[in-house]
Symmetry: C2
Subunit: 256 residues, 2 copies
Amino acid sequence: MNRPLILVTNDDGINAPGIRNLIDAVFPLGEVYVVAPDKPQSGMGHAITLNSTLRVQEHMNEKGIPEFSTSGTPVDCVKLAIKKILPRKPDLLVSGINHGSNSSISVIYSGTMSAAVEGALENIPSIGFSLCNHAIEANFSAAKYIASKIIEKVLQNKMPDYTCLNINIPSINLELINGIKVCRGAKAYWDEDFDERTDPYGRKYYWLTGCLNNYDKGEDTDEWALANNYVSVVPIHFDMTAHQHIKTIESWNLKI
Amino acid sequence: MNRPLILVTNDDGINAPGIRNLIDAVFPLGEVYVVAPDKPQSGMGHAITLNSTLRVQEHMNEKGIPEFSTSGTPVDCVKLAIKKILPRKPDLLVSGINHGSNSSISVIYSGTMSAAVEGALENIPSIGFSLCNHAIEANFSAAKYIASKIIEKVLQNKMPDYTCLNINIPSINLELINGIKVCRGAKAYWDEDFDERTDPYGRKYYWLTGCLNNYDKGEDTDEWALANNYVSVVPIHFDMTAHQHIKTIESWNLKI
């Protein structure tokens, strides 16, 4: 059997420690290609580049893995990889390891997870990994080990069609992690605060800041798992239709 | 009773004909604020601005409507509006009218729809409108009329919690439109093609292009409605958990 073709991407940029650890984790498991943004693209959600051009630059790393940095978003990277760079459709897509949590509603804002969702759209088994620690110097050793264990399982099993996994890893030592929990995403939202400043020319500007407000007390959620030192695994789909509300809207009897 | 407070935004930028028509449509229906990007932001999905600063500029239009252009994405505009600009939480959020369709899977890439989804996240009744015509000179008169009819109905009824509507309008004269259909989003994906060019300095670059590949033959979809000259109305949610697959992933028995 051919070794699986594995596409690695992220949103923190091709030089981030998180993706370097993820490359190490998948290197023994298949034929690896890296296609990732040439700069940080956190919070890019499912953005694609329509109003400007895309550039691609090839590198070869010391392990002989072909690496490509692009000027685009994480989703652009997946599209470029599939349509322009890879020799064939990949058997697996892995994204991350993100510097910082992508639990609950953060999936929708996350470039890491949007790359995985784009893989799912193409029906490629896809996984996004995030370590719950924003620091550039975060310790990825437990996360790298857990990622490799989960990737092995995904390669052995059949991912449900058009589905990806959102995996968040507590930022603690491996021996303190209580296990891996399959969960639903908690119902939560980001409560923003805009940090208002004045530039040297007297004009106002803002930085977007905020904190996650979890209004979901369920013990079957990713937030609960992470708070209790479990790795959270949430299967993710992309069907945005609220099927349960179609009849309600029909009852409004909309007419021209 | 106070007049409803209505937030208008879009992704084509504050000067696009589509938003100008939407402002006209809502002007008689409530107290209107416009907070929209200062430049085109198509395809920005649910992106937020984390790596750079945000600017906001106030204008006053000839109708006395307060208008604010921002340097951010459509989702940034919604967050800035709610947290910094509006006197209170709006009673309604309308986004568009987009220049071009946002049917089926395009919801996930669309800045117009991501602004509506962000409204839904805050439990604000929210609607995204799109005209199936990319041209800057498209005729918005039927779309404007239909938008005002639908907005009146939404103000009369109670939107299901944490839900928004994705409304696509065929680009034909009003008398040729067969009616309004409540639908599910068709299962479809964008089949990309990268237009490869060479810059004046001999280096390659790409433009992202593509066409929507609809593999869903259902007659209850938005694609079917639009192809048959109906306005499509799809209720949209943001619960990305694939609840139906939790048991399957549990059966893999993931362990550290």
